[in-house]
């Protein structure tokens, strides 16, 4: 953000949310480490854990109630994830990352993710989940 690399910042923010949800999953399920391909032989388990899908990760992290439509984080969750899910897997944005996001959009997404009191991270912090 400080280098005004707006599209790169947006791409990194996607990873931030993915890492948060995977860390929350470990905490919710009392896992020492996140399941890896080598240690996960069951195909159905792979589809749940080995994913970039925010909606899937929301379920296994145990935070659906917070960011669901009736939850206090619904607005921030919707505002943030709508930009990442509109073109399929959010990681696809790396293919057009150089031109798609401007300063206004990057700062808006940053606010949905970090701005207190209703940003995604502040809500998780307030609930001692993060």
């Amino acid at each position: 953000m400080s280098n005004q690399e707006w599209s790169v910042a947006v791409y990194i923010m996607g990873f931030v949310l993915e890492c948060i949800l995977k860390a929350l999953t470990c905490k919710a399920l009392n896992l020492a480490t996140y399941p890896e391909i080598k240690s996960t032989k069951h195909e159905k388990i792979k589809s749940y854990f080995l994913t970039h899908d925010f909606d899937m990760l929301l379920i296994i992290s145990g935070t659906s109630q917070i960011f669901g439509l009736s939850g206090e984080g619904a607005s921030s969750w919707s505002g943030f994830t709508q930009e990442y899910t509109k073109s399929g897997a959010w990681t696809n944005i790396r293919y057009d990352v150089l031109s798609r996001f401007d300063e206004k959009k990057a700062k808006s997404l940053y606010a949905y993710l970090t701005a207190p009191p209703d940003g995604i991270i502040p809500i998780l912090e307030s609930k001692k989940l993060w």
Partner: protein, 120 residues
């Protein structure tokens, strides 16, 4: 649930004015969650929070709690957003199954209203 969303759309348009796109999209087959997509001339970045809360309240008041739990997000896009332009290619009351829209494999979609801005 689609009929309930038609009621919600009517309520939104009565209160705020015409909507260009109102659709339900299910992005993948693994998670049974829907994205409510709306685009309207009166829904802007500046009033996004107020518009979101208005739509959220109508959805929560209309759907059962089980139905509401199937909604992953309310996505409010400007009319010039590429996804909206692609959805405007469909007519109102169109059901889409397993089709690529905006580079995204849409598992299911209900285009409840699609009306180009010039006609709005």
């Amino acid at each position: 649930m689609v009929e309930k969303f038609k009621t919600i759309l009517n309520s939104i348009e009565t209160e705020r004015g015409n909507v260009a796109i109102f659709a339900l999209l299910r992005m993948d087959e693994f998670v049974d969650k829907w994205t409510v997509v709306i685009s309207a001339p009166w829904a802007t970045d500046e009033n996004r929070h107020e518009v979101f809360e208005m739509i959220r309240k109508k959805i929560v008041d209309t759907l059962t709690s089980a139905e509401a739990s199937e909604i992953a997000r309310i996505a409010i896009f400007p009319i010039d957003e590429h996804l909206i332009q692609e959805l405007l290619q469909f007519k109102s009351d169109t059901v889409v199954e397993n089709k690529k829209i905006n580079g995204n494999d849409i598992h299911s979609a209900y285009i409840i209203k699609s009306e180009t801005p010039a006609l709005v």
